[in-house]
Assembly symmetry: C2
Homo-oligomer: 444 residues x 2
Amino acid sequence: MATKIAPLSGFPEYLPAQRMIEQQFIAKITRTFELYGFAPIETRAVEPLETLLSKGETSKEVYVLRRLQADPNDASDASLGLHFDLTVPFARYVVENAGKLQFPFRRYQIQKVWRGERPQEGRYREFTQADIDIVDRDTLGFQADIELPLVIGDALSSLPIPPVTIQVNNRKLVEGFLRGVGVPDTAAAMRAIDKLDKVGPAAAGDLIMATAGATDAQAKACLALAEISAPDAGFADAVRALGVSDPLLDEGLEELVRVVDAAAAHRPGLVVAQLKIARGLDYYTGTVYETVMKGYERSGSITSGGRYDNLASSGAERFPGNGLSIGLSRILGILFGAGALTASRQVPTCVLVAVVDEESRTASNQIAAALRARDIAAEVSPEAAKFGKQIRYADRRGIPFVWFPGADGAADEVKDIRSGDQVAADAGTWAPPADDLYPQITLA
Amino acid sequence: MATKIAPLSGFPEYLPAQRMIEQQFIAKITRTFELYGFAPIETRAVEPLETLLSKGETSKEVYVLRRLQADPNDASDASLGLHFDLTVPFARYVVENAGKLQFPFRRYQIQKVWRGERPQEGRYREFTQADIDIVDRDTLGFQADIELPLVIGDALSSLPIPPVTIQVNNRKLVEGFLRGVGVPDTAAAMRAIDKLDKVGPAAAGDLIMATAGATDAQAKACLALAEISAPDAGFADAVRALGVSDPLLDEGLEELVRVVDAAAAHRPGLVVAQLKIARGLDYYTGTVYETVMKGYERSGSITSGGRYDNLASSGAERFPGNGLSIGLSRILGILFGAGALTASRQVPTCVLVAVVDEESRTASNQIAAALRARDIAAEVSPEAAKFGKQIRYADRRGIPFVWFPGADGAADEVKDIRSGDQVAADAGTWAPPADDLYPQITLA
């Protein structure tokens, strides 16, 4: 078939070496999630439009489906769209399967999502997220708020990426503070604080006054709060020094201290209390998280989430949750874009078994089978060409070893084509150095 | 947010235990593919409609995308659809990246595909396929035809599923035979033979006469060929005994003998020459494969594919290939439907660490961290409830071990809640039996 070549903006595709890097990232993230007892689910790619639009603010970004030969009188497909995150489908899944799940339910989900964004630099229309959430019936213990950033910290530190800092705040703390200083519209003030990094403190202060009905003094107090940042519970003293008092503020302070203290004990430097982090979305009700990668702070958050006291509901039943989402495609996009990640080879193959002549191909196949039986990836040369050509086949793919079957009873030999070293070897016992068994990923 | 509960026909979703089974299947298939040196790719979920429809025969099944808030004057998204298999996107990917790939290119690809089928029993609208293909420029050695069923055989035999038989035929053999007996329309005859299992020999014979312009004697010869089946090269004698001669028939016979002989040497019983296998699709040009699972033959083929001398082309350049696709969702659908696959637990967790009281939760966290550091999945009880309740938490999820932190300097103890055995243990050295480390999948 003749095939049209059509790169599509916003739909990144990787070459095999990059896909191997992505796979290793997914495997490491998955294993960390499982070590903490999170169970896997996948949800279908589509949801009814009604479900997708229940959040109300992303309607522009949804891809709607239609069967090419749909019967105009058949409405069965008419209302399906591709999911744009993993939280909305998860909420639906929890309600749908509530009778079959054990609560609290700890799940992870690593899947593609789609957004019908206009194509532009750095905006993906298809990308992969890796989410963990803990959800319970009626009430969810605060333990979840403390544990989740530690799981994410372990997952990210298992990857060959620069060190990360998880920035934590608490919506109760901010809401209580805003009430305490008497800001009329606290939600508007929070949205203005969320824009602080983009517009700077002067404009953010103006925005607080304009949209939240705050006085100049109140706006200044908001900005003073937003400036506070500390790697330990010392942030609480800085907040109290601002002289604002409110019961919700106290509750938020106490919660945030618990998160920061536990994280400092688990992995010093992982978590920072960052009081300007507000997360734009209205449904967060307590702890909120963002994450930056050292040296790539300007690329924005690579992991975000927080506590929502009403992830889903069904009749009188309510499911509070807390969740964090790793932006896997964003991390890879940043590091691939910087040329910072490389794989040691383009194929999984560790050994190319040479073929002396077509008559003895079976002997080469048997050598490869013996290597595979001991978990060493091996392929057999497609051609009984001159050995120089077979070595080039390996070299072009980065395969480190070429195996030469011994002729007439002579021992087999294996050559490290990087060093040129060639030694006698037996396919039933030989093993490569541990670093050569799988492709190695390196961060520049 | 209030969430609508909406199961959708054709979009299967699994509970966590089933998803763990699917993940283990994918991991085992992946590792086999890698052991043979196949490199991974993923392609975007969408292709231009023009690419999707280039095969011409699946136009009814394509899901077309539209941005919900699309500008009617902006045609940029108007022509995108979800891929319905992995072969069409792979052909496009090969042409698009030909300058960056090494040929012969061995790739695997495990992804979801979508088909806008009308909902009906056993038809999926979203399902997962696991494909391997070998593609080359200009010509592809016959070695690929021999190797691919061995890879698939190894992959399937690594799974906890019933034994499989790969049924192999060769389109040159059939085409040559049809020419040799003088059937006027060989393509029509092949399509009729493809229906043999569905309609029976009498109706198939009538169909050959009606659609291929064959005489009664010619139709009988076709059916005699289609009846031939053998686990070894003996099928060739049976074909020759029919007294038909044609150069293309000889070429096909020789090729099929090579495939069957090599497979018999690799894994006796894996491959059977089955001369009624024709594969409906016109683009196959040589070896073709289907696969049945013992005891589930009536559920149809779980792995199909074959040689296509023109997978893709670009100007004067041609890319012949050979590929096989494992229908992962189909296999799981069959076995889940029969209640034949079970997981030993619903969560990855091996150990639940009990919490004595909230004051000592940190001690429980440290025990869990010590277990995780040695790759033992552990979660900490969400509540410092009575131990009986904490044990029930583990029991309801199938977690085999509960860990009790020692109070006041006493040793920790770990209980196997299935046997009730409880022993003193140290989180830095204790290990579960190997079978309990990960969830075990069992075939009934």
